[in-house]
Point group: C2
DNA sequence: TCTTTGCTTGCGATTTTAGCCAAATATGCA
DNA sequence: TGCATATTTGGCTAAAATCGCAAGCAAAGA
């Protein structure tokens, strides 16, 4: 049984992505791993709030983290997750790739 | 500008999918359009609740609806949306398709 | 050991979402 | 026109999510 095979696991992934800050975090992490303090520079929010967003993403299986020295580095659990964005972008960018022709 | 190009539009899509009932509705509609009364048979919830879930999906641009006679028929706004599920399923079913090798 | 830095967690206040019931609306049929 | 059916909307309450502040904790360095 895969990580995202159950309905609830999928719901958790979508719920994790269903917040502007978390979605931007995921987009940032698509470029490569980042530590919390670096992420914090991109977001005008309290570090505790950022930390909670990261834990939502982690619990959903969207990201992993690793502590190295004083810092905690977050990365996408699977880079393939960005394909989800590709799906949406494809609908915008290239109607021909969309089977329904819209 | 496509329908899902902005961050907020993407968030709305994920938010719409971030509920077990709505996710199952989308899965059901992937097979083809259905009217509210038929959908209702699949879910042990109040019709008013179902109607609200459908309006969340509609406002996010995930589904469209059309009234024909006494019934309202819902369908996926774009069948391609099911590619989002394919993305997740691919991670479970076929590790080779996943660039990160997990 | 003591202090600083980086991050997480407990908590309370506020906002958002979900659910049901009841009322409103719209269509079709008698 | 009047009634039944199908769906949506208003109003309410309960539950969940969000946020910042303050406190806790672990690793690093003085």
């Amino acid at each position: 049984m895969g990580k995202f095979s159950s309905l609830d696991a999928k719901v958790a992934v979508f719920k994790a992505l269903a917040h502007p800050t978390r979605l931007r975090i995921v987009q940032d992490l698509a470029e490569g791993e980042l530590c919390v303090c670096v992420l914090l520079e991109s977001f005008p929010i309290d570090m505790s709030t950022l930390s909670r967003h990261l834990s939502v993403l982690k619990n959903a299986g969207v990201v992993d983290c690793e502590k190295r020295g004083k810092n905690v580095y977050y990365r996408l659990a699977c880079p393939c997750l960005t394909r989800i964005f590709d799906c949406l972008d494809a609908l915008d960018a290239d109607a021909k790739r969309c089977a329904c022709g819209r």
